[in-house]
């Protein structure tokens, strides 16, 4: 046995599947473009709906009925200006649309390679397995966080164009200056990014486990929905707060006069634990896995 000084035709593992290359692979996919389109169109549709409904129905009162959490208050304030419109759009999207989009980006990334059979050719290059996951995760998370950022930012602009740039109003009463409102919006976006880490980790794990992209995306979405359903059963207290989606809406705490960090800290901690476990499982499984697809 001896140390080899083989150049392998200028092959270097640390240069394989660079982030730029993976970005091109993903960005040129139709589903990425569709997701972006949905995110761009949604705020416009919501704004138009508000515009139309406020013209036909000027009373607009009531709205106190039970419904989606936080909904009524945020709905009533949605047309006050850019900030509140962005907040409402975020609220409307965070429960399902953003979950699906993040699940799509992170769940589809490995499983779709497996389903096209291109995974084995990447591994035969060879892209080291851990590196393959890392590069794919960097790109998938970038796209997910990008979606999380794009939606409120775009909704802010759309809201400003439709309803003006009035200062933000807290559902608890009181108003924010534009600077303070943007700061709160940033906190909201940062927290939803952290929350979407859970969906990302879960979808990524499923993506490694299965060769069917639909299974990974749908599975992650389904588990989030199941967690939401269980979370609505108050009889499950005190175990409910360990459900991964329990603190999903804790960013609402950033909308009062004083920001209350407690639940956001809990939510962040919980998500980080779940995500770490899911990511560790994904890596471990992928290292061991026989690639048969």
């Amino acid at each position: 046995m001896q140390l080899a000084e083989v150049q392998d035709n200028r092959f270097r593992p640390e240069r394989t599947l660079r982030v730029r290359v993976e970005f091109v692979r993903q960005l040129r996919r139709r589903r990425t473009q569709l997701a972006a389109l949905v995110l761009l169109v949604l705020p416009v549709i919501i704004a138009l709906a508000f515009k139309v409904s406020s013209e036909t129905d000027s009373s607009g009162g009531g709205g106190g009925g039970p419904g989606r959490p936080g909904g009524p208050a945020l709905v009533n304030l949605a047309t006050t200006g850019a900030t509140n419109f962005a907040l409402f759009t975020e609220f409307a999207a965070v429960g399902f649309l953003l979950v699906v989009i993040v699940a799509l980006f992170c769940g589809d990334t490995v499983a779709s390679e497996a389903s096209w059979a291109s995974l084995r050719y990447l591994l035969a290059i060879p892209v080291p397995r851990a590196r393959l996951l890392r590069q794919k995760l960097i790109v998938a998370l970038s796209l997910s966080f990008g979606a999380n950022l794009l939606l409120p930012a775009w909704a802010y602009l759309v809201g400003g164009a439709f309803f003006g740039w009035a200062p933000g109003q807290s559902p608890l009463g009181g108003t924010f200056t534009t600077g303070a409102a943007l700061q709160r919006l940033l906190i909201v976006v940062a927290y939803t990014c952290v929350q979407s880490l859970l969906v990302a980790a879960l979808a990524f794990l499923l993506s490694v486990l299965t060769d069917a992209p639909l299974g990974a995306v749908g599975g992650a979405t389904m588990l989030v929905v199941v967690s939401n359903i269980l979370d609505s059963i108050t009889a499950l207290d005190p175990y409910r707060r360990f459900l991964p989606t329990h603190f999903q809406y804790s960013w609402l705490d950033a909308l009062g006069q004083n920001i209350i960090w407690d639940d956001m800290m809990r939510g962040t901690g919980l998500i980080l634990v779940y995500s770490a476990v899911f990511f560790a499982l994904a890596w471990w499984r992928f290292q061991e896995k026989d690639i048969l697809s």
Binding site: R12, R25, L223, L272
Partner: protein
């Protein structure tokens, strides 16, 4: 499968929580003798709830006015599960208990409760502090709360008290006067409803008539007050006896006082008087201002939690008593569970205190207001039990609405507040009141919250009635008014509005029309407030720390794994094998289900050879190639490529171009982009790729710029083989390369491979087609059922059966042979490798 695993975990949590509920308490219902009334025995209807472990301290539970022990069931079960013997009972005059209602009179209801304490002293399941003296706490809401306070004043055996939403002074509660002094305005709606709820109690005989089960003296006093609106001395004496106010100095048991913030019957000022009076003896007191109340409802679980937290240190000797003053601040946070504005608890660690005020300037001219004749129309602020509902309606319509009738209301507004203000407790203001004609006045003062957007809210729907007598018409009188005790978070920019009106539906109003001039005697309202901190339940930091630790572990694990990997990856080359493109040794691959796809296979491929891996479907060819590409892990045995051991991600794989089990192309990209991106993914310089050569081999022509999803199977196949040849690797591994190609393309492919090998490079192809292997390969490895059948050059193997003689005319040859005395027969010509192959594997096919 992974999804299922996670689901199982979630379901596990669910099951655990369901199983977590502890067994129901054992209950026993029976009658216990109470204080005899008018010479007749009185039986009290009781239920005992026993905990799992006895002896245990006892809790005596009393119900609210008009209720029965059945209302206490869930509360009692919770406490019993927590470890208390609970005795719930129906007070005299209610339900199935006997006797008449005396309004928590010391000689009747309180004496009854004292008998129940004695009864607890006889129970073996109850822990006794000394003979005849059980360890017992007493608790109740409203009527039961009043009884708890009175019992602990009259019976020193009580060790702890939990009184919820109850009164200090019934006279003050039913005839409140915010200007102080004499009894004020009759709270007629509440009084009427309470009377009706008790008068309607079923009773054994129909005696009593309109008084129902009220004791005759109580009934008569009430009826007189209700008709005149003034309490007479008899009623005042009766109410005094039933009020803790006079006996607070006798209470020595630690006392928990919780009061509702939505309560127009016993507002927060009642608890203030109780707390101050009891604390004056040095008795430990805890005060909680909770959400709900007589107008806002009561959460049983919340009350039980308060009781446990209070009773445990005293009765179970567990933990330390928490004497902090807890204030529920409505609308100060947003629930993450429901997303609505919710209350948060403000904690004042030094305990219950009062008197912190902040002056808020209010302004407005003197205003004349009119009291209508007959007291109608009257403002509606709260209706017994519905107070908060009306309040909600008012806040939704965005105007004070029913709570203010034009002409009846004087308003004095503040400027927008410069900062957030928490209104908590009884604020005061000095008013100057001038009656135009009358000598007395009935007025209602309140503080409204006027939001920046114009929404006007009356916090908790509470007003403070003012009754002034002995006025001189035209001469102003200055009075200090205690405004309703409320808790309200007022954001910066909102205003407070002091409102004085002449009517309120809930109170008895004057019949004669009147008018008053109301002015501010001082331009400020002393707004009561509370300094505390928002309760942080649990330690949210811990969660965050746990999360960060988990991520830290993940990163650490990744680093360690990477380091170990790098150490293992230190490249070692087998010296004898360094020039051998492929060396397979004793390769075994067994799948999870025990199926042996490859069983002890050994062969070598030398430089410049075109080696055919031949075998029927399922022979183990593809599995061998997958191991060769590091895609699957062998069960045992090794594969070396140019002397380096193959494992997942081994760098030597970069010297292999592969096509395994069909193409793996990105359907949304063109053929050309597929090749470019694939090469970009290798990270090697673009000039090494030799795209032109590869594209030429693929023979796709113009089609290479179409999207791959439009390609036919054959086109994809050719593109994938071109991809395998990118960079002209030293070893080319092709698995069934000719599937889907037409005969012409197969012939071309054969030529390409031969030329490829001629450059000193090596090709391994697998196939189940004999002809192909025979025509393309120089060497052959024959596999069957995972085992190696034969290895060698095509010529060797084909020649192994001996030499064949081919003749042009078999008939003639046979004749010649026959003449020579040799027997012969003709057989159809067969491809030689096929012969061998069938000979080798045929036995199993039979």
């Amino acid at each position: 499968m992974g999804a299922a695993a996670v689901l199982v975990v979630t379901a596990g949590v669910f099951a655990a929580s369901v199983r977590g509920s502890r067994p129901a308490a054992v209950t026993r219902a029976q009658f216990v003798a109470g204080t005899p009334e008018a010479g007749a025995p009185v039986r009290l209807d009781t239920t005992v709830y026993l905990p799992a472990k006895t002896p245990a301290p006892a809790v005596l539970l009393a119900h609210g006015f008009g209720g029965s022990k059945a209302d206490l069931d869930s509360q009692a079960r919770s406490l019993a599960r927590h470890g208390y013997v609970v005795l719930a009972y129906t007070a005299r005059g209610f339900g199935r208990s006997g006797g008449l209602i005396h309004l928590d009179a010391p000689s009747y209801e309180v004496a009854d409760a004292s008998r129940l304490v004695s009864y607890l002293a006889t129970m073996p399941q109850v822990r006794q502090d000394s003979p005849g003296n059980p360890r017992v706490g007493v608790a109740g809401s409203s009527y039961g709360g009043g009884l708890s306070l009175l019992l602990s004043a009259y019976d020193q055996r009580v060790d702890a008290v939990g009184a919820d939403i109850t009164w200090n002074d019934l006279t003050q509660a039913l005839f409140p006067n915010a200007a102080g002094g004499q009894p004020g305005v009759f709270k007629k709606l509440w009084a009427g409803q309470l009377f009706a709820s008790a008068a309607g109690q079923p009773r054994a005989s129909d005696q009593g008539g309109a008084c129902g089960r009220f004791a005759p003296n109580v009934c008569a006093a009430y009826q007189r007050a209700a008709s005149t609106g003034e309490p007479n001395t008899a009623l005042l004496a009766l109410l005094m006896a039933s009020s803790p106010a006079g006996v607070l100095n006798r209470i020595t048991a630690p006392t928990l006082l919780s009061q509702g913030e939505q309560d127009s019957l016993f507002p927060l000022d009642q608890v203030a008087a109780n707390a101050t009076g009891i604390a004056a003896n040095g008795t430990p007191v805890k005060v909680i201002w909770r959400s709900g109340g007589h107008d806002g409802g009561t959460s049983t679980s919340e009350v039980v939690q308060y009781l446990q937290d209070w009773f445990d240190p005293v009765l179970l000797k567990q933990g330390r008593a928490d004497l902090a003053f807890d204030v529920t601040v409505p609308g100060s946070g947003i629930s993450s569970a429901t997303g609505r504005a919710v209350s948060q608890t403000l904690r004042v660690d030094r305990g219950y205190t009062q008197g912190r005020t902040r002056p808020v300037a209010v302004g407005g001219p003197a205003q004349t207001i009119y009291a209508p004749a007959g007291g109608s129309p009257a403002a509606v602020t709260s209706v017994p039990g519905l107070g908060s509902l009306l309040n909600t309606a008012a806040s939704l319509t965005g105007s004070p609405g029913l709570a203010a009738i034009p002409g009846q209301v004087a308003r004095f507004a503040s400027q927008p507040l410069p900062g957030r203000l928490l209104v908590a407790g009884t604020s005061t203001v000095r008013l100057s009141v001038t009656a135009r004609a009358a000598t007395d006045a009935t007025l209602f003062a309140s503080v409204h919250h006027l939001a920046a957007d114009g929404t006007d809210t009356l916090p908790a729907g509470l007003v403070a009635p003012i009754r002034l007598t002995g006025l001189t018409p035209g001469v102003p009188r200055t009075v200090t008014v205690s405004l309703p005790a409320v808790v309200r978070n007022v954001p910066a920019g909102d205003r407070l509005v002091l409102q004085v009106s002449t009517t309120d539906l809930a109170y008895r109003l004057q019949n004669a029309p009147n008018s008053y001039t109301v002015a501010l005697a001082a331009p400020t309202v002393a707004v009561a407030t509370v300094d505390g901190r928002i309760v942080r339940t649990g330690a949210p930091w811990l969660w965050l720390v746990a999360g960060l630790a988990a991520i830290g572990l993940l990163i650490l694990g990744a680093l360690v794994a990477g380091m170990r990997h790098r150490r293992r990856r230190r490249r070692t080359v087998h010296p004898e094998l360094s020039q051998v493109p492929v060396a397979v040794e004793n390769l075994v691959k067994e799948y999870g289900d025990g199926y042996r796809a490859v069983d002890d296979v050994t062969f070598r491929v030398e430089r410049g050879q075109v080696v055919g891996l031949l075998g029927p479907n399922g022979a183990g060819k593809t599995t061998t190639l997958r191991v060769l590409m590091g895609l699957i892990r062998p069960t045992s045995g090794t594969v070396h490529v140019f002397g380096e051991l193959i494992e997942a991600g081994a760098p030597v794989l970069s010297r292999i171009g592969s096509f395994i089990e069909g193409p793996g192309l990105l359907p949304h990209l063109t053929g050309r982009d597929n090749l470019r991106l694939f090469w970009a993914a290798t990270g090697r310089p673009a000039r090494d790729a030799q795209f032109d050569t590869a594209l030429e081999i693929s023979g796709l022509g113009e089609s290479v710029d179409r999207k791959v999803k439009t390609f036919s199977q054959g086109m994809r196949q050719r593109l994938a083989i071109a991809q395998a040849m990118l960079g002209l690797p030293e070893l080319l591994v092709l698995d069934e390369p000719t599937n889907g190609l037409d005969p012409l393309q197969i012939a071309e492919m054969r030529e390409v491979l031969r030329r490829y090998a001629a450059t000193g490079r090596t090709v391994v192809i697998s196939s189940h087609l004999l002809a192909e292997v025979e025509q393309t390969c120089s060497h052959v490895v024959v596999m069957h059922n995972g085992r190696l059948v034969a290895v060698g050059s095509v010529a060797d193997i084909a020649g192994a059966g001996g030499i064949q003689l081919v003749v042009k005319d078999p008939r003639q040859a046979q004749e010649i042979l026959a003449a020579a005395g040799v027997d012969s027969q003709t057989v159809p010509a067969r491809r030689s490798l096929e012969d061998i192959f069938i000979e080798m594997v045929g036995a199993d096919h039979d």
